[in-house]
């Protein structure tokens, strides 16, 4: 139980995919213009991550080492296509706004990374805990990042205007450069809050 909790929290803080491992940045930077997009992308990615982690952990002892990568890609692509079709059927509006980024989940490094580094070496239960943790860490990061960008760049939050007037949105925040500003500041804050006490890591002062 303790181990499962550790696997779960791991993905949210100490190995947060975006802020710590810095993988999967392309979709994060591209779609974090509104919170709705961010949450939609986060949920879709989490679903694919859970599905692929579970499947890969289940078949990890059957799949020969030589062809594990193509097998992983087939598994991931299958789940992505399922997500794509289901979203088109049940959430057409969200499917429309996320557009091309849904099929591109296939090449999201987080999913392939977890498949290779975790799911292919651990039990299905642990793989699910890991997938959930990584997914939730990804969603939280996306909410914070897209929230900040939508607020500063568009003057809205969850698509609703601010209750007061006089705030002039800085358009650059929803433009591509704004994504880099925001993610840079977020990574700096995050790493200061959760300092790694590792040799050769961060040095604290001159002591």
């Amino acid at each position: 139980m303790k181990q499962l909790w550790k696997d779960f929290v791991n993905g949210i803080i100490s190995e947060n995919a975006v802020l710590k491992l810095m993988i999967g940045l392309c979709p994060v930077l591209a779609i974090s213009t509104t919170v709705v997009n961010g949450v939609g992308m986060g949920l879709a990615t989490t679903f694919v991550l859970l599905g692929s982690n579970l499947t890969i952990a289940l078949i990890r002892n059957i799949v020969p080492k030589e062809i594990r990568i193509p097998v992983f890609i087939i598994v991931i692509a299958t789940f992505v296509t399922i997500t794509d079709l289901s979203m088109a059927a049940y959430f057409p509006a969200l499917h429309k706004t996320l557009g091309i980024f849904i099929p591109l989940i296939v090449v999201n490094c987080i999913i392939m990374g977890r498949a290779e580094a975790f799911a292919s070496r651990n039990t299905p239960v642990r793989a699910i805990a890991d997938g959930l943790g990584m997914g939730i860490g990804f969603i939280l990061t996306l909410i914070l990042l897209s929230g900040a960008r939508e607020l500063l760049g568009n003057g809205t939050i969850f698509g609703a205007s601010l209750p007061f007037k006089g705030f002039e949105p800085a358009l650059i925040m929803i433009l591509p450069p704004g994504a880099f500003f925001a993610i840079g500041i977020m990574i700096a804050i995050f790493n200061n809050l959760f300092k790694l006490k590792r040799d050769g890591g961060h040095k604290h002062g001159s002591a």
Binding site: I74, T78, P92, T97
Partner: protein, 187 residues
């Protein structure tokens, strides 16, 4: 021999995946198609509210748009409650900043634009994607086909998305001219 074994395993995995996908595909296909049909009807009513039903013209029944990037894909004749023609809705395609933009324009019999909807686009989320918002499409409503319909003249572009705005305005202008020239043919 090993190559054969590995190939066989890969084939097996692909077959299972294909099976799962075809199941999901056939489960979602009717829903997606139904949504699309409903969507079409709904947007048609939105751009041409005075119509009660619509009759689609065959592609052989109308002349193509003489342009290299802009096309007319569908023409729907709006029919009122007394079987009288009330206007026309035209679906056109153009190329924007991020890919093709599909728009639907409603034009009444007195040559007024009754509504515009962006059906599909791949413009930058948060910037060019604003062409789909009412604040942009609303600018065209109740303009007549003889108006200039150009950015900087009687329309304003979205900040940071000039190309996307430009593309839509040009297509609208093109279709307006087209309707003025050809509308007698299918009235």
């Amino acid at each position: 021999m090993n190559v054969l074994r590995l190939g066989f395993i890969l084939m097996l995995v692909s077959a299972i995946s294909a099976g799962a996908l075809s199941y999901v595909f056939f489960q979602t296909k009717p829903i997606i198609e139904q949504r699309k049909a409903e969507d079409t009807k709904r947007v048609l009513l939105e751009v041409l509210p005075s119509a009660k039903s619509f009759k689609e013209l065959n592609s052989s029944e109308f002349k193509p748009l003489d342009d290299s990037v802009m096309f007319i894909t569908n023409i729907y004749l709006g029919i009122g409650s007394q079987d009288n023609p009330v206007g026309v809705a035209i679906k056109g395609v153009t190329v924007g900043y991020g890919g093709s933009i599909v728009i639907l324009i409603g034009i009444s019999n007195d040559n007024k634009i009754t509504g515009i909807e962006i059906i599909e686009h791949k413009e930058t989320p948060g910037l060019g994607s604003k062409i789909a918002e009412k604040s942009f499409t609303g600018m065209f409503v109740s303009k007549t086909l003889n108006d200039p319909l150009t950015i900087k003249d009687d329309l304003t572009a979205i900040a940071g998305a000039t190309k996307s705005s430009q593309a839509v305005a040009k297509l609208v202008k093109k279709i307006a001219d087209y309707v003025l020239k050809n509308r007698e043919a299918w009235r």
